[in-house]
């Protein structure tokens, strides 16, 4: 059943590099955890327990607050079949929903096409960060890719305001559609004009925005604040994409990983507060995912690539709690004798969001039918 929200919005947060799920949601009573992780294991007395066996990382207090308020669904043991531990292949699989062959169409690109089949709004899909993630790519689907919301647009390198205005006016003239110039030039004119339009609309967002919420000073908080500013400006964006990098903690995990999950946790809390302050939280759901989990045993400094990661679905309409199963740490149950075996197919999470949140038929978008979760309050 679909949640009844007028124009539901999905915000995707990609944790790039492979977030260490076992050090995010920690099996703090399991001896195998501590035996396997003499270096990176988090001492039981420091964790933030959420029940008798699992706990949040000590640096993720704000995320636990959201959890305690019933707004966080933790999807345990999410993954894909035949994990080969490559970041890029792993990310490709998450982006395209295709674990067996290499394709280029992204699941959100296809989703945007369903949400806005006539390209009525160039801002239906907005990605923050330079370069479009493959998840957002589908032929013929315009997606706006914003490096920095405050300086977004064409010819932003021209610092003199008047000179830039003049250059933009001439740009518009140069990209005016011309009869008989052929399909490729026409397409270029169209695309150039769309970017100008998108930039024109987007620049309203920072101007309209006021908030009492203080976001922490880190990259993912900055991106989520940008999402909030665009969402609150009411520009019709339905899919937002953001990325938080640095999770590839082969080495120096002890100082790095706590900082990252701390940044993430603070950013998510501020973002939710901001939406709630503006009565705009009910139409937003956040998906936090990563390409894979990490190896059960640490390597003396960090952890190598593994499988069986975790994801979060966050929002005021979410029925908070634990979903799917925490992968077993029992050596007999381990994948390749050293990895967590995933317990839930990631495509089932996508299908859950597509059908129950966005109200779309999931099978054509994720390439089949997968078991779904029930993480929403109706």
């Amino acid at each position: 059943m679909t949640v009844s929200v007028k124009a539901p919005v999905l915000v995707v947060v990609q944790l790039s590099g492979g977030n260490d799920f076992m050090n995010t949601i920690i099996p703090y009573t399991n001896g195998i955890y501590y035996d396997s992780r003499p270096t990176v294991g988090i001492p039981a007395e420091q964790v933030l327990p959420l029940n008798d066996t699992l706990a949040f990382h000590p640096r993720t207090g704000p995320l636990k607050e959201l959890y305690d308020a019933g707004k966080v669904a933790i999807i345990q043991g999410i993954g894909y079949p035949n994990s080969n531990r490559s970041h890029f292949r792993g990310m490709d699989i998450w982006h395209t929903c295709e674990p067996n062959k290499i394709v280029t169409e992204g699941w959100l690109g296809k989703t945007i096409r369903e949400l806005d089949p006539h390209h009525a709004n160039v801002l239906t899909g907005v990605s923050f960060g330079r370069g479009l993630p493959r998840a957002m790519v589908a032929p013929g689907v315009p997606v706006t890719s914003v490096g920095d919301l405050d300086t977004y647009g064409m010819m932003t390198g021209i610092s003199d305001v008047q000179q830039r205005q003049e250059a933009l006016a001439l740009f518009q003239e140069m990209y005016a559609p011309a009869l008989g110039s052929g399909p490729v030039l026409d397409y270029l004119c169209h695309t150039g004009t769309d970017v100008l339009k998108g930039a024109d609309v987007l620049k309203q967002a920072p101007a309209k925005y006021t908030s009492t919420v203080q976001y922490p000073d880190n990259p993912i908080a900055k991106s989520l604040r940008d999402v909030a500013r665009v969402h609150l400006a009411g520009l019709g964006t339905r899919i937002f994409y953001t990325q938080h990098g640095g999770y590839d903690t082969h080495a120096s995990e002890v100082p790095t990983h706590p900082r990252l999950v701390g940044e993430l946790s603070g950013a998510l809390k501020a973002f939710m507060q901001d939406l709630e302050e503006h009565n705009a939280a009910d139409e937003v759901v956040i998906l936090v995912f990563t390409e894979f989990g990490r190896r059960i045993k640490d390597n003396g400094s960090g952890t190598d690539h593994g499988s069986g990661g975790g994801a979060f679905i966050i929002g005021t309409r979410v029925a908070g709690g634990l979903y799917a199963e925490y992968p077993s740490l029992d050596p007999a149950e381990q994948l390749y004798g050293e990895d967590l075996k995933h317990t839930f197919d990631f495509r089932g999470v996508y299908a859950t969001l597509l059908e129950q949140w966005l109200g779309l038929e999931a099978a054509p978008l994720v390439g089949g039918t997968y078991e779904q979760l029930q993480p929403f309050r109706h």
């Binding site: 531990r85 490559s86 970041h87 890029f88 292949r89 490709d92 290499i102 394709v103 280029t104 160039v122 990605s127 330079r130 370069g131 479009l132 493959r134 790519v137 032929p139 315009p142 997606v143 706006t144 890719s145 647009g153 064409m154 010819m155 932003t156 390198g157 021209i158 000179q163 003049e166 250059a167 001439l170 740009f171 003239e173 140069m174 990209y175 005016a176 011309a178 110039s181 399909p183 490729v184 030039l185 397409y187 270029l188 004119c189 695309t191 150039g192 769309d194 970017v195 998108g198 190598d304 690539h305």
Partner: protein, 468 residues
């Protein structure tokens, strides 16, 4: 040579290389067109890029420790500075056809060595190229031939060799794929290439007779105890292979064709050109140099100006040639790699074995924004040597310059660009605001340089600049 010939040379160098400055064009023009083509076809006549200087600034001197970003930057540096432009262009051509992605193995040495192989054999004959490719560690891993065993054949390489690397869909059967796969059993590397657990060690081809299926096979209508060499031998004799390679060359050097998977349904836009190139293929035993000699000297090539959307690497390298920076491995080369990446082309890392989707598909809102902003930013600083060279040439035309002359000469000096009426009018309107340019005093020259820089920024922002 007349100006028209410089325009033709500019076209040739955009396609057979990564563009050229006006100074370079004038030097090329001391020979006639056909002789310039011969020089391009014979890279060995010119010195190599001095890799040792590049290593000093951009490498620990070994391919083992370097990240792909370093190799992307180093490749773009070569594109800008090579005196063998066609050699570098052929490496990019084959990289697009035999698309191997770093993202599967994350093994940089084997990718760097594969590109070097294309530099070495890119202008040789198709048989050599396909055999080298079949023995290349990066390819053996990418398409799983290392997992292609006598008792458990893996069809991945056999299939793509036929479908994407030589004949094209519709010219062979599923049974041929199975036979090709069996013929390549035992073709593997000396040690596996993935990073884990041993780190970045390079490896080399290793043939294992004990893992080779030596049984009798029927492939493309012939029967025998075929090994991989026999498969390549059979493939290169087929007209389908000649046409397929011809179409790839046309698509890369002449004019954008539809994406490769559509080729068996959509006929080529210029069937006569494909016939001419296929004839050259058979006349020469599949020699790339011969095919390209026909191509670059043909009317269909000379007339096909601005019929291709520049790939990101071409856009970046050709823009850098025009602004004249990075003629030395200065710091910051990796930002050029980033620029190409965010425009959609991560060198050494094409998204799939199909290679990059090219032509119109290079362009979307995000990538166009990156392309325009990159080029406009590069032309923001009028003290860059390339901009100064253009100002110098403009000032040599006389003490003053009319707005019309300014626009026309700038378009010319940027590589004999032709633009549509809307673009020309916009440029002209901007030029007119500045009135006549004067170069009499140093102050006038300074003010004129700034104005010229802005005209150049508008030119590189134009839609026409997106085309090669």
């Amino acid at each position: 040579m007349s100006d028209n010939d410089l325009a033709l040379l500019a076209h040739l160098l955009r396609r057979a290389g990564f563009g050229a400055t006006w100074d370079e064009l004038e030097e090329y023009a001391t020979k006639d067109y056909a002789a310039v083509v011969e020089d391009l076809l014979h890279p060995e006549r010119f010195p190599e890029v001095e890799e040792d200087v590049v290593c000093r600034y951009y490498s620990l001197g070994t391919i083992m420790e370097d990240s792909p970003a370093v190799w992307q930057g180093r490749w773009i540096y070569r594109m800008i500075n090579t005196r063998r432009p066609l050699q570098e262009k052929m490496a990019l051509f084959w990289h697009g056809v035999f698309a191997t992605g770093w993202h599967k193995s994350e093994h940089t040495p084997s990718m760097a060595l594969q590109i070097d192989m294309f530099r070495r054999n890119g202008l040789s004959d198709i048989k050599t190229i396909l055999l080298d490719l079949s023995r290349d560690p990066a390819m053996l891993d990418w398409l799983d031939n290392s997992e292609n065993h006598k008792d458990a054949p893996n069809e991945n390489y056999g299939r793509e060799l036929l479908e994407l690397f030589s004949m094209g869909v519709g010219n062979y059967s599923e049974a041929d794929i199975k036979m090709a796969a069996r013929a390549f059993t035992g073709w593997t590397y000396a040690q596996p290439i993935p990073l884990y657990p041993y780190g970045f060690y390079p490896t080399h081809f290793h043939y294992r007779p004990d893992d080779h299926d030596d049984s009798v096979k029927t492939f493309l209508g012939k029967t025998g105890r075929f090994n991989g060499e026999d498969i390549v031998e059979a493939i290169v004799k087929k007209p389908a292979t000649a046409r397929f390679i011809a179409r790839h060359l046309y698509n890369f050097f002449v004019a954008d064709e539809p994406q490769v998977p559509a080729w068996n349904q959509m006929p080529p836009q210029d069937p006569q050109a494909i016939s001419a190139l296929s004839r050259a293929y058979f006349d020469s035993g599949g020699d790339l140099r011969t095919m390209l000699r026909v191509l670059f000297n043909a009317a269909f090539f000379k007339e096909a100006r601005f019929r291709k959307v520049k790939s990101p690497a071409e856009l970046v390298a050709s823009t850098m040639k025009l602004v004249g920076t990075y003629r030395f491995p200065d710091p910051g080369l990796l930002t050029l790699a980033t620029a190409s990446n965010v425009m959609g082309q991560s060198l050494l890392n094409p998204p799939t074995v199909e290679g990059w989707h090219t032509g119109k598909e290079w362009i979307d809102g995000g990538t166009l924004n990156e392309r325009v902003n990159f080029a406009v930013n590069e032309f923001a600083d009028v003290t860059k040597p390339g901009v100064q060279a253009i100002v110098e040439r403009l000032s040599a035309l006389g003490a003053t310059l009319t707005p019309e002359a300014l626009v026309d000469h700038c378009l010319d000096l940027m590589g004999s660009l032709t633009v549509g009426n809307e673009t020309r009018q916009a440029l002209l309107r901007y030029a007119q605001n500045g009135g006549e340019l004067r170069f009499g005093t140093p102050e006038e020259r300074q003010a004129s340089a700034v104005h010229v820089g802005r005209v150049l920024q508008l030119i590189v922002a134009s839609k026409e600049y997106q085309f090669a």
